[in-house]
C-alpha cells in the first residue's frame, strides 16, 4: 500500500495545522478526484456529493481507509465523523482492503431458491475463507450480494465486472482457476 497513506492526518494529537492537513490530503488523491471535489464545492449543495466522492475514492483505492476518509473530510470541509458515519452506513462501501478478485455470490431471492447457498459454501470451502474475508495471498475476497438484478439467470456470481450465470457448486473450481489465469 502507498506509504503516503500513513500519517496523513491527525486524530487531534499531532501538531500540524489545518492547512498542512489539507495539503497532505491533496497529495493522497489523483487529479480526477481532486478536480471533482473542487467542482462540488462550487455546487449549490456541496455536501450532497459526499457519497459520489466516496464512490470515486473506493473505485481508486479499492476500499475506504480511515486516512482517505479523513482526507475527504478535509477537502470537502465536512466533519470526519460524518464522513465515516456515511461510509459505514452503506453496504457498498468497503472499510477493509480487498483481494484482487472480489467474488460476490448473489443471495437474492431467486438465487436463494435456486441453490445459491450451496454455491457460497463451495466457494468458502475452495478458498478456505468465510464471507467478508480475503485470502492470505490477497487474491480473493468473498462477499455476499443482495441482488445483482440478473434473477432470471439465478444463481449468479459476480467477479469484477463479469457476471457468471446459472452457477452450480461443481462449476466453482473452474471459475476460481479461470480467475487465477487472468
Amino acid at each position: 500500500m502507498n506509504n503516503n497513506l500513513k500519517n496523513v492526518c491527525c486524530s487531534g494529537d499531532c501538531s500540524k495545522n489545518e492547512k498542512d492537513c489539507i495539503e497532505a490530503s491533496r497529495d493522497l488523491f489523483p487529479e480526477n478526484i481532486l478536480k471533482f471535489i473542487e467542482q462540488c464545492l462550487k455546487d449549490e449543495h456541496p455536501n450532497s456529493q459526499l457519497i459520489t466522492v466516496l464512490h470515486k475514492v473506493q473505485d481508486h483505492f479499492g476500499y475506504l481507509s480511515p486516512q482517505t476518509m479523513d482526507a475527504v473530510a478535509y477537502l470537502m470541509q465536512i466533519p470526519a465523523a460524518k464522513v465515516s458515519g456515511v461510509a459505514s452506513f452503506y453496504h457498498y462501501f468497503r472499510l477493509k482492503p480487498c483481494g484482487k478478485h472480489v467474488i460476490s455470490v448473489c443471495l437474492g431471492t431467486a438465487c436463494y431458491v435456486n441453490g445459491a447457498e450451496a454455491v457460497l459454501k463451495k466457494f468458502s470451502e475452495e478458498l478456505g475463507i468465510k464471507e467478508g474475508e480475503t485470502t492470505h495471498d490477497g487474491m480473493f475476497t468473498l462477499e455476499i450480494a443482495r441482488c445483482l438484478g440478473a434473477c432470471a439467470l439465478a444463481p449468479v456470481v459476480k467477479i469484477g465486472d463479469d457476471i457468471h450465470s446459472q452457477v452450480t457448486p461443481d462449476k466453482v473450481p473452474f471459475i476460481i482457476s479461470s480467475c487465477l489465469k487472468k
Binding site: 435456486n114 438484478g149 432470471a152
Partner: protein, 641 residues
C-alpha cells in the same frame, strides 16, 4: 405555437435520415447485463467477424437492449428485407456462425435454435390476433412495433408492452432510433399544449398508479407538488431497485433510457421543476453508464438544458448513485441519501411532495412509472385507461424468476391473473413439480398460495391476500421450498437492512428472526408461534417507515396461508418440504444399498460405516445433514425424511 411542432418535425426528419434503409439485412443482438452474462458479447463479435470475412456490406449488426426473455439469452434476431423477423435463442459463437452462413447467406433457417416453432417464421402473415388490450396499442408506431416484430412468438404474444415498448428493439445508446419511434413526441405534445395543469389531469385520467409498489395515484402526487407555494421543486427517479428478485428497472434503464428521461422532463414541466435526479443503485454500472450517455445526447440535441424548444422551460438531470442500502428505496431515506447523508427515513408527514429534497417539494417516481408517461401522452389518457382495471390503468411489468420455465420480464395489463402469468406466459413449473406459492413484493411482500391463482393481480387484490404488488418481483416457489424457511430468508434480509433508527424495526425484526431460527432448528414451541404473530403485528403497527411496516409481511402471510407447515416444524419437528437441515434425516435403505462405499467416502464427518458390498449405516448422532451422501448415491438408497 406551430414552432414547437416544426422543431419536432425537424428532429423526426433527421432521425429518419439516419434510419437504415429497408434493403439492409439487420442482425439484432441484446446487450443488457443479463445478455452479456450469457455471452452476448462473444456472439456480437462473431457476427462482426463474419460480416468482415464475407464482405457483406448489406448486413448491419445492431446492438439492442433486452427483450425480457432471460432464460433463452443470448437472443439474436434477423430481419431480412420484406420478410418476417426471425428470432433465435441461446445463441453461442458456433450458432452465430451457422446463422450467418445458412440464414443470412442462403436463406435457410437454423431450425434447432429458433425461439418458438418454425411455422411462425415460414409465413409472412401474422398469425396472432391482437388481444383487446393490445388493440389499444395499435396505430402508434411507438407501441405497435413490438407487437409487429414479436407478436407471433409465444411468451411475447400475450404481453401488452407499454413501459417495455422499445426494449429489445432499439439501440439504447441511439437517440435517433428512439426518436424514430415517436420518441419525444409526448414531450412535444406537452410543450405545444403549454398547460402543465392539463398534463397532470391527463395522468389522473389515465389512472396511472406508482409502479414502485405503493400504488399511489401519480396524477395526485403531481397535483400536490403543483399546489405548493415554493418555487423550487424537484423530480426524482427512484431507480434504487433493492428488492431481491426485481430487475425491471435495471432492464428498462439499460434497454430504453430515453423513455425514462422523457418521462422525467414531462414530470418536471408538469410540476414546475427545473432539476431532476436519477437515484440509481451502484450495483447497476451498465444502467448508470447508459443513462449518463442518454442525458449527454439529449443535452446535445437541446432536449435538456436551458430553454427547451424555445419554450423558456429549463430542465437539468443529474445521476446520484446509491450505495447498497435497501432502506434508500423508501422515499424519505432516498432524499437523505441524495443530500449526502446516512439513508435513514424520517416521519411522514410532511410528505416529500410538500417537503422533500432540501425541504423543497419533490416528486419521487419509479422508473417504470416514468417510462409510461410519454406513452400516455402519445396514445392519450383515454386509450391508456382502457387497459387495466377500473381503478388502475395500464400495465405492470413483472420480473418472473424462481421455479418457473420461462424466466424473464413480463408486461401484462393490471388485473391479469397469476395463472396467466405463471402458467400461461411463464410456461409452468419445471420438472413436473407442483406450484406451492408465488412470492411478490420482495422482503416487503408475502407468499400467495395456489388458492389465489385466479385472482386478478392489482394493488388492492394483492394487499387483500396478505402480500403487496411491490416493484413487481415475482418468485415462483415449488413444493421443495419451505414456507418457514422463505419467511426466515426475508427476515434475515430486512433485519440486516434495518437502519436502526426506530426500535420496533431494529429490535422487533431481530426477535422475530430468533423465533424463526428456533422453529427451523427444531426447538420451536407453540408459544413461539403466538409470540411471533403478536410481535409481527406490533412491528407492522409501530415502525417508522415502510421497511419496518412491511418487514413482518412474509411472516404474517406464511402464518396465514401455511400455518400447518409452521405446526409441522413446531409439533412434529418435521419440515414437510425437506428444506430445513436440522429437521431432516438421512437414512440408508438396506434393501437398495449395494455397498459401493461412495457415500462413506464422500461423507465429510466420516459417520457412514459398512463393509464393501454390504449395506451401510449412517450414525445419526454424528451426521451434520450436509446431504453429500444423498447427492452421490446412484442407487437411490439414501432416503431423505
Amino acid at each position: 405555437m406551430g414552432k414547437i411542432k416544426d422543431q419536432y418535425q425537424k428532429l423526426q426528419e433527421q432521425a429518419q435520415k439516419l434510419t437504415l434503409s429497408p434493403d439492409v439485412i439487420q442482425i439484432r443482438v441484446g446487450s443488457a447485463t443479463c445478455e452479456n452474462a450469457s455471452g452476448a458479447r462473444e456472439v456480437a463479435e462473431e457476427f462482426k467477424k463474419n460480416i468482415v470475412v464475407y464482405g457483406s456490406d448489406n448486413v448491419k449488426l445492431l446492438t439492442v437492449g433486452c427483450t425480457g426473455r432471460c432464460s433463452c439469452e443470448p437472443i439474436v434476431s434477423v430481419s431480412k428485407p420484406g420478410k418476417k423477423m426471425v428470432v433465435y435463442q441461446k445463441v453461442d459463437r458456433e450458432t452465430a456462425h451457422k446463422i450467418f452462413v445458412s440464414h443470412i447467406k442462403e436463406d435457410r433457417l437454423v431450425e434447432e435454435s429458433l425461439l418458438g416453432d418454425a411455422s411462425i417464421y415460414n409465413t409472412n402473415k401474422s398469425q396472432t390476433a391482437y388481444s383487446p388490450s393490445q388493440q389499444n396499442l395499435a396505430g402508434f408506431p411507438m407501441t405497435e412495433e413490438f407487437l409487429k416484430l414479436y407478436g407471433d412468438i409465444p411468451f411475447y404474444n400475450s404481453q401488452t408492452r407499454i413501459a417495455l415498448r422499445n426494449s429489445g428493439i432499439i439501440n439504447p445508446e441511439s437517440l435517433h432510433e428512439y426518436i424514430s419511434r415517436q420518441g419525444f413526441l409526448g414531450l412535444n405534445i406537452v410543450l405545444d399544449k403549454a398547460d402543465p395543469e392539463w398534463v397532470v389531469d391527463q395522468i389522473s385520467i389515465a389512472k396511472l398508479r406508482g409502479r414502485g409498489g405503493g400504488g399511489f395515484p401519480t396524477g395526485k402526487k403531481w397535483h400536490l407538488a403543483r399546489m405548493s407555494e415554493e418555487k423550487i421543486r424537484y423530480v426524482v427517479c427512484n431507480a434504487d431497485e433493492g428488492d431481491p428478485g426485481a430487475f425491471m428497472d435495471r432492464s428498462l434503464l439499460e434497454s430504453d433510457p430515453f423513455s425514462v428521461i422523457e418521462g422525467m422532463i414531462i414530470a418536471g414541466y408538469a410540476i414546475g421543476a427545473q432539476k431532476g435526479f436519477f437515484y440509481i443503485r451502484a450495483e447497476y454500472p451498465l444502467a448508470v453508464e447508459r443513462v449518463q450517455k442518454a442525458i449527454d445526447l439529449c443535452h446535445k440535441e437541446g432536449l435538456l438544458g436551458k430553454d427547451i424548444w424555445g419554450t423558456g422551460f429549463n430542465f437539468e438531470l443529474e445521476i446520484r448513485l446509491g450505495a447498497g442500502a435497501f432502506v434508500c428505496g423508501e422515499e424519505t431515506a432516498l432524499i437523505h441519501s441524495i443530500e449526502g447523508e446516512r439513508g435513514q427515513p424520517r416521519t411522514r408527514p410532511p410528505y416529500p411532495v410538500v417537503k422533500g429534497l432540501w425541504n423543497k417539494p419533490t416528486v419521487i417516481n419509479n422508473v417504470e412509472t416514468l417510462a409510461n408517461i410519454p406513452a400516455i401522452m402519445v396514445m392519450e389518457a383515454n386509450n391508456f385507461n382502457k387497459i387495466g382495471t377500473a381503478v388502475s390503468g395500464g400495465t405492470k411489468v413483472f420480473a418472473l424468476a424462481g421455479k418457473v420455465n420461462h424466466t424473464g420480464l413480463v408486461e401484462v395489463p393490471m388485473g391479469t391473473s397469476l395463472r396467466e402469468v405463471v402458467f400461461g406466459i411463464g410456461g409452468g413449473i419445471p420438472n413436473g413439480k407442483k406450484l406451492k406459492a408465488v412470492q411478490t413484493g420482495g422482503p416487503s411482500g408475502g407468499l400467495l398460495p395456489y388458492s389465489v391463482i385466479d385472482t386478478p393481480i392489482d394493488y388492492d387484490t394483492l394487499a387483500a391476500s396478505g402480500s403487496i404488488m411491490g416493484s413487481g418481483g415475482m418468485i415462483v416457489l415449488d413444493e421443495d421450498d419451505c414456507a418457514v424457511d422463505v419467511a426466515k430468508f426475508f427476515l434475515i434480509f430486512t433485519q440486516d437492512e434495518s437502519c436502526g433508527k426506530c426500535s420496533p424495526c431494529r429490535e422487533g425484526t431481530l426477535r422475530m428472526l430468533e423465533i424463526l431460527e428456533r422453529i427451523t432448528s427444531g426447538n420451536g414451541t407453540l408459544e413461539d408461534l403466538v409470540n411471533l404473530e403478536r410481535l409481527a403485528n406490533l412491528v407492522k403497527k409501530a415502525s417508522l417507515c415502510g421497511l419496518g411496516k412491511a418487514a413482518p409481511n412474509p411472516v404474517l402471510s406464511t402464518l396465514k396461508h401455511f400455518r400447518d407447515e409452521y405446526l409441522a416444524h413446531v409439533v412434529d419437528k418435521r419440515c414437510p418440504a425437506k428444506k430445513c437441515a436440522a429437521l431432516i434425516r438421512y437414512e440408508i435403505d438396506p434393501e437398495k444399498c449395494v455397498g459401493c462405499t461412495a457415500c462413506a467416502r464422500v461423507c465429510p464427518v466420516k459417520c457412514i460405516t459398512g463393509e464393501r458390498k454390504f449395506a451401510h449405516i449412517i450414525d445419526q448422532k454424528q451426521c451434520i445433514k450436509c446431504g453429500a451422501c444423498f447427492n452421490i448415491c446412484k442407487f437411490s438408497a439414501v432416503k431423505k425424511t
